[in-house]
């Protein structure tokens, strides 16, 4: 009897057993939105350093995507970014979104000053072959303080990287730096 009750609860969606569904999801509705694995990532709109316009998370639907949270203030984040550049050299159809957080920003600060600092960084910083970050093919966005990072479940560790399949479903979350090898492995594992 208890078994029947559980079955009924599950079937009528009182208990969510599909939180980490690893099957390919093609449902384009917003019903499954959330920040857990198996969820459709919420739609946020952030400032885009490349175009100087706002960028919606729904823009990358249809493309395998890595969302990386980083900061100029985070050494390991800065060291990690060339790994994404190397990935894009091999797979130009992958989308890499790098979201900068400015944890020192408060609502009273001039956000333009923070943006200018980041803009200068990605326009002048280069690694190895002399290619500046802005030419990596990465889409650089700004999370003014760290609110989007926190809304997506970030606690305190940077960098943090979300792996999204072509349906913008969250497949994996990495806390800390990841290597090119790990990025490639994610692409092979989760690309539809």
């Amino acid at each position: 009897m208890a078994c029947l009750l559980i079955t009924a609860l599950v079937y009528f969606n009182f208990i969510d057993t599909d939180k980490k569904n690893t099957s390919h999801v093609h449902d384009s509705t917003e019903e499954n939105v959330g920040n857990d694995i198996g969820n459709l990532i919420p739609n946020y709109t952030l400032y885009n350093y490349n175009t100087k316009e706002n960028y919606s998370f729904r823009s990358f639907k249809g493309t395998f995507t890595f969302i990386n949270f980083w900061g100029t203030w985070c050494g390991p984040c800065v060291k990690e970014m060339p790994e994404f550049a190397s990935l894009l050299k091999e797979y130009s159809d992958i989308n890499v979104i790098a979201i900068h957080s400015s944890p020192a920003f408060t609502g009273d600060d001039d956000i333009d000053a923070f943006k200018e600092e980041v803009d200068t960084f990605i326009n002048t910083h280069s690694d190895g072959d002399g290619v500046i970050w802005k030419d990596y093919g990465i889409t650089f966005l700004q999370d003014d303080d760290d609110s989007i990072y926190k809304k997506l479940g970030g606690t305190s560790i940077y960098p943090m990287t979300y792996v999204l399949d072509e349906n913008s479903i969250i497949r994996r979350v990495h806390n800390g730096s990841i290597s090119l090898q790990a990025l490639l492995s994610d692409y092979e594992s989760y690309s539809i």
Binding site: C3, W73, P76, K79, P103, F114, D127, Y158, V173, I178
Partner: protein
């Protein structure tokens, strides 16, 4: 119609027996028991035991500085910077299995506030420590101990004249290798005073050199690097 089909579905479960159904549910829900945040080796980060780490930020006369943010970084990640309290102390809870390079958030410092980025490394044997903020001095007037900024151009070499009082000193560069990008980690500054040079050529690390100032000693030093760069160095009495 939808409700009828659901009821039929339930009936089917009852008829086919519960054991198999339970198993099916268990199999489906099993992956959700893992944490959504994973490291590369899939360790469950929620089981880590943490201890309190703290840092006092002070100025050159040991007065607490209350306007900065402290950040703890490992080799692979940084934690959100923590604002110091009214006593100049920042606290956080961290995993004891790591080594932490402790920094101050650059944007929480003024242009003339500098500190040694290599001053404090913490681990389970050293959970307390302090960082001293100093005032950057004018490179065109090296007449006292303190921190100065060297700016090396395309020619990868720069010379500075000093007028320090007679005595024994140490000069060391304050390049932060833990916070720099991969190419910056190859940065290799060296220093020469008279006939004496630091002896770490060929390795990417900070220079450190003892020297004596007397009436007859050389009054210039030459900084050489493998690339154009700007960095701080400190002169202190030995």
């Amino acid at each position: 119609m939808k409700k009828i089909s659901k009821l039929l579905f339930l009936s089917l479960f009852v008829l086919t027996g519960c054991d198999e159904t339970s198993s099916a549910i268990s199999n489906t829900s099993s992956p959700t028991s893992t944490t959504t945040s994973t490291t590369d080796d899939d360790e469950d980060t929620t089981t880590i035991e943490k201890s309190e780490y703290q840092v006092l930020v002070k100025d050159e006369v040991d007065k607490p500085v209350t306007t900065t943010r402290v950040q703890w970084c490992t080799e692979s990640n940084c934690f959100l910077p923590v604002k110091v309290d009214s006593n100049g102390i920042a606290k956080t809870n961290l995993d004891d299995n790591e080594t932490y390079y402790v920094h101050l958030l650059e944007s929480s410092l003024t242009e003339t506030q500098v500190y040694n980025p290599n001053e404090l490394v913490q681990n389970k044997d050293k959970r307390d420590g302090s960082i001293t903020i100093r005032t950057l001095k004018d490179i065109n007037d090296i007449s006292s101990t303190g921190v100065y900024t060297a700016e090396v151009g395309e020619d990868k070499e720069v010379s500075y004249t000093f007028s320090l009082p007679n005595g024994s000193y140490t000069i060391e560069s304050w390049w932060d290798y833990t916070a720099s990008s991969s190419t910056d980690s190859e940065f290799n500054p060296s220093i020469t005073i008279g006939e004496t040079s630091d002896d770490d050529s060929g390795e990417g690390k900070n220079f450190k050199l003892d020297f004596i100032v007397s009436d007859t000693s050389v009054k210039t030093f030459k900084i050489s690097t493998n690339k154009k760069n700007k960095f701080n160095f400190c002169i202190y009495s030995k």
